[in-house]
């Protein structure tokens, strides 16, 4: 693999900007999804007074 800093050449700002934007989108999606999932499960646990049983079980 070539030197990562050199990849992009004179357009490095555009190339790495695109990869940065993609990374930002992924980070937001993963963090937001996990935070929501954890909060929802904890809400059920709190209301059930212990470990959450999976809905439908």
């Amino acid at each position: 693999m070539p030197d990562l800093a050199a990849a992009g050449g004179k357009y490095a700002l555009f190339v790495w900007g695109a990869y940065g934007a993609s990374l930002a989108a992924f980070v937001w999606m993963v963090v937001d999804t996990l935070v929501r999932a954890r909060a929802a499960k904890r809400a059920v646990e709190r209301l059930e007074g212990g470990a959450a049983t999976e809905p439908g079980a």
């Binding site: 004179k10 555009f14 934007a21 999932a37 929802a40 059920v44 809905p55 439908g56």
Partner: protein, 239 residues
């Protein structure tokens, strides 16, 4: 498959193991695609900016897949009143919006050095993808603006179904109109016109993005099902 997963119990059992498997698969495929994409030679015309294609095109593909998922889930929710289908539709929208935003931003970052402009309002491919983004945002805004969750879901699902017409418009926009955006070069009659050295990372990234969408979608549906259970329990406790 859809009928089987319409049962919340079966869906929760399925998604408990499917989500981490898809997540792991996404990490491997994207890592592999990045290695191939960053080590591919510069294109004779695009130069180094060809590397933007490896994040732009998969984001656009996944955004369309997310909208198709939203549309199918909305159809099943509207027609068959499946609660899991409604949760699936609701969960797909923010992910679709994020993938569409990524496609628009990365496309713009490719357009500036190659076309000499960040954006072209007269380009049907660009505008139809912007409409896709607005459909995702509109779907979420509509759901959030109506207090009655059932009514909000119905209204948003109708919007989602109407918006499905935009998918073939995006796909064929480069054939139907003269656009700045290049014509179809991958899924076309006669085979792809892209060199294999670029196709491999493109498909790996496409598969990785799709798997990532699948994993995150399953987790978000699970979260929505838990949220509804919590709301039900809170209501029961208050009575």
């Amino acid at each position: 498959m859809i009928t089987v997963l319409a049962n919340p119990h079966r869906f929760m059992a399925f998604s408990r193991w499917a989500a981490p498997i898809l997540g792991g698969l996404a990490a491997v495929l994207i890592a592999w695609g990045l290695v191939l994409g960053l080590s591919a030679p510069p294109d004779y015309q695009q130069g180094e900016t060809v590397r933007i294609m490896f994040v732009h095109v998969p984001a656009a593909w996944t955004a369309m897949m997310a909208y198709a998922s939203l549309g199918v889930a909305s159809f099943f929710s509207l027609v068959f009143r499946h609660a899991v289908a409604d949760a699936a539709a609701k969960a797909a929208a923010p992910l679709g919006a994020a993938f569409t935003a990524a496609a628009l931003v990365t496309g713009s970052l490719w357009g500036k050095p190659m076309w000499g402009t960040w954006w072209a309002w007269g380009d049907s491919r660009l505008v139809s993808v912007l409409v896709l983004f607005l459909l995702f945002v509109g779907y979420m805004a509509l759901r959030a603006s109506i207090e009655d969750e059932a009514k909000a879901a119905r209204a948003a699902e109708i919007l989602a179904l109407v918006g499905l017409i935009n998918l073939p418009v995006i796909k064929f926009s480069v054939d139907w109109w003269n656009t700045l955006h290049q014509g179809e070069s991958i899924f076309r009659a006669g085979g792809p016109t892209i060199a294999a050295v670029y196709l491999a990372p493109l498909f790996l990234m496409g598969a990785g993005y799709s798997a990532a969408f699948g994993a995150l979608w399953l987790v978000r549906i699970r979260a929505e099902i838990y949220r509804r259970r919590a709301a039900g329990l809170a209501l029961r406790a208050a009575l």
